[in-house]
């Protein structure tokens, strides 16, 4: 039975909501969108070593701990902002899980930069990739079970302490 438009829309809503929350640094609220067994990873394929790589991984608890400790870390202050478009949502036959593919571009809005006097206010593209999300559908709002941020980008310059 084909998935209802409502189900598909609710999955898209969850994805876009995650982008809003991450953009606004509302990490606790973002994790609330995720189920208790949520796992997160940033992955990429490297043509240099011709291998799939995991750049970062963690479960919900590890992410929460990491995000709690963040204020104690020296970090670049330039916020990351996302532009995302959901390309595809596939709901399985049981109607209990869904998978989505979302194209995402993540920009840095420069604040510290290298020299904030010169760099602040500029936008730079940081990474390009896709959110590959898996959801549990319980009747209420879809809950994230797994997010893989599959990056094309391997030139990561200073990197980031924040989730993508």
């Amino acid at each position: 039975m084909p998935a209802s438009r409502d189900t598909i829309e609710s999955v898209k809503d969850a994805i876009y909501k995650s982008c809003l929350l991450l953009d606004d640094f509302k990490f606790k609220d973002w994790l609330e969108l995720c189920d208790s067994d949520f796992t997160y990873a940033i992955v990429a394929y490297s043509p240099e070593i011709r291998r799939d790589m995991t750049y970062f991984s963690g479960d919900r608890k590890q992410l929460a701990t990491m995000l709690d400790l963040l204020p104690k870390h020296n970090t670049d202050h330039s916020p990351l902002k996302r532009h995302a478009t959901v390309y595809d949502v596939a709901v399985d036959d049981s109607g209990k899980t869904a998978e989505a593919i979302t194209s995402v571009l993540i920009y840095q809005n420069m604040l510290d930069g290298i020299n904030s006097h010169i760099d602040a206010g500029e936008n730079r593209l940081f990474v390009v990739g896709r959110y590959l999300d898996t959801f549990r559908l319980n009747g209420g709002a879809p809950k994230f079970v797994r997010r893989h941020v599959r990056l094309e980008t391997r030139r990561l310059d200073k990197g980031s302490h924040w989730p993508l």
Partner: protein
């Protein structure tokens, strides 16, 4: 202590010896940079990649050293060779991709050959010119394939089967002659079993390559890392040695890492490298700009490619054992990533440090003293590593690091 006016700022304290500071112009002067490429980067051995990046015969990798394009290829005899990635005909880059296999057919060339797409000249894996299109028609008896092989570069596969290349044919030292002393502490761990690269990323940072190398050579900057402060500053930590080796290399000694205190759960004690006791660690900083960093569960290797006085590309690799099970590999990757990954704790902070230095030492900024004066019995917060590097640098460049307008002289003891 009071702030200083310009004259006071520019006068070194009387107690500072000439090897205890460097002049920031060594990090910012474009002419010095060009000289470094000629005198240092074109003359040193560099660990450009790992053999696991080209595992099969006919596999290749491309890279650059001091702006020269290099092709590293594994022959059908399984031996890895390096060539200038330049066609002897009209100077075209022969292979444009970062990696691949010459077993595959090419648009202008045949399997088992390197083909320059421009005029279809082909070369074999030993650098022989195998084929010149319409050779006799154009060159008659004057020029032939046998005159036009590739330029082969000295290349060794060693120390964990890293591929080392030098642009200098006159460099008669082997990698072992040059860096064997410094790498001795980890050699048996690197050579015990075949290694495999599992992590690769790159950063292009607005800073001089030596500033990144300095950060890899000194650990006083552990103050910038939250977890190092709360878990790492133990008596064992402060007892670790910071040892200078010939040819400008530096080694920092072993260290019992207290991971439990850092809320990430299980100790990393279980997984290790062959022959390396759990929770031990070695860091080898090789002149002029590579770093082997072996912790309990992952080997990290950084290699730099300086692009200009104020820009450097750093390639970051993480390695495990080829025989890792999927579970062991995932644990190594997680351990590697949590500290050294691009989205982990420490690397971002280290890069912030050197990027900030770079922004304050742009070409044309005022010459400043960069102090490297810590003496602590050659233990971990001693800055002997940097002083030793700049001794070697000064000799090779024949410039005094504390005043690069003057010729090098040994620092008065």
């Amino acid at each position: 202590m009071p702030s200083r006016n310009a004259a006071q700022w520019n006068t070194p304290p009387n107690s500072l010896r000439i090897d205890e500071f460097v002049d920031s112009r060594i990090y910012s002067d474009p002419a010095i940079f060009e000289e470094e490429l000629e005198k240092i980067w074109k003359k040193s051995w560099l660990p450009v990649c790992h053999e696991s990046e080209l595992p099969e015969p006919y596999d290749f990798r491309t890279l650059t050293i001091a702006r020269e394009p290099i092709l590293v290829v594994r022959g059908p005899d399984n031996k890895i060779r390096a060539f200038l990635n330049v066609c002897p005909h009209r100077g075209m880059l022969i292979e444009r991709r970062p990696s691949g296999s010459f077993l595959e057919n090419q648009a202008s060339g045949n399997p088992k050959h390197m083909t320059c797409m421009f005029h279809g000249w082909q070369f074999d894996m030993k650098g022989n010119c195998a084929m010149i299109t319409r050779e006799k028609e154009g060159y008659q008896d004057r020029l032939s394939r046998k005159d036009l092989g590739l330029r082969e570069l000295r290349c060794e596969t060693t120390f964990g089967n890293f591929v080392w290349v030098t642009l200098d044919d006159n460099n008669t030292q082997s990698v072992n002659d040059w860096a064997g002393d410094a790498l001795a502490c980890i050699q048996k761990n690197l050579d015990a079993e075949p290694l495999e690269v599992f992590h690769y990323h790159k950063a292009i940072i607005g800073t001089n390559y030596k500033l990144w190398h300095d950060t890899n050579s000194e650990f006083y900057h552990d103050y910038m890392h939250y977890f190092n402060r709360i878990t790492g500053f133990t008596p064992e930590y402060f007892a670790r040695k910071n040892v200078a080796h010939k040819n400008g290399h530096v080694v920092v000694g072993t260290f019992e890492v207290q991971y439990e205190k850092y809320q990430l759960g299980k100790s990393r004690a279980e997984l290790s490298f062959p022959g390396l006791p759990p929770n031990q660690w070695f860091m080898v900083d090789l002149f002029p700009g590579a770093n082997f960093n072996l912790r309990g569960s992952a080997l990290r290797v950084d290699v730099m490619t300086p692009l200009s006085a104020d820009t450097v590309m750093i390639e970051f690799r993480g390695l495990g054992l080829k025989r890792d099970t999927a579970e062991e590999r995932m644990r190594r990757i997680e351990h590697h990533n949590s500290i050294w990954g691009p989205f982990g704790r420490n690397l971002h902070e280290d890069l912030l440090g050197v990027a900030g230095q770079g922004s304050a030492m742009l070409p044309g900024s005022e010459p400043r003293r960069i102090i490297q004066a810590r003496h602590e019995n050659e233990t971990i917060h001693d800055e002997v590593g940097m002083r030793h590097f700049y001794q070697e640098w000064g000799r090779r460049m024949n410039r005094l690091p504390s005043d690069p307008t003057r010729k090098y002289m040994e620092a008065a003891e």
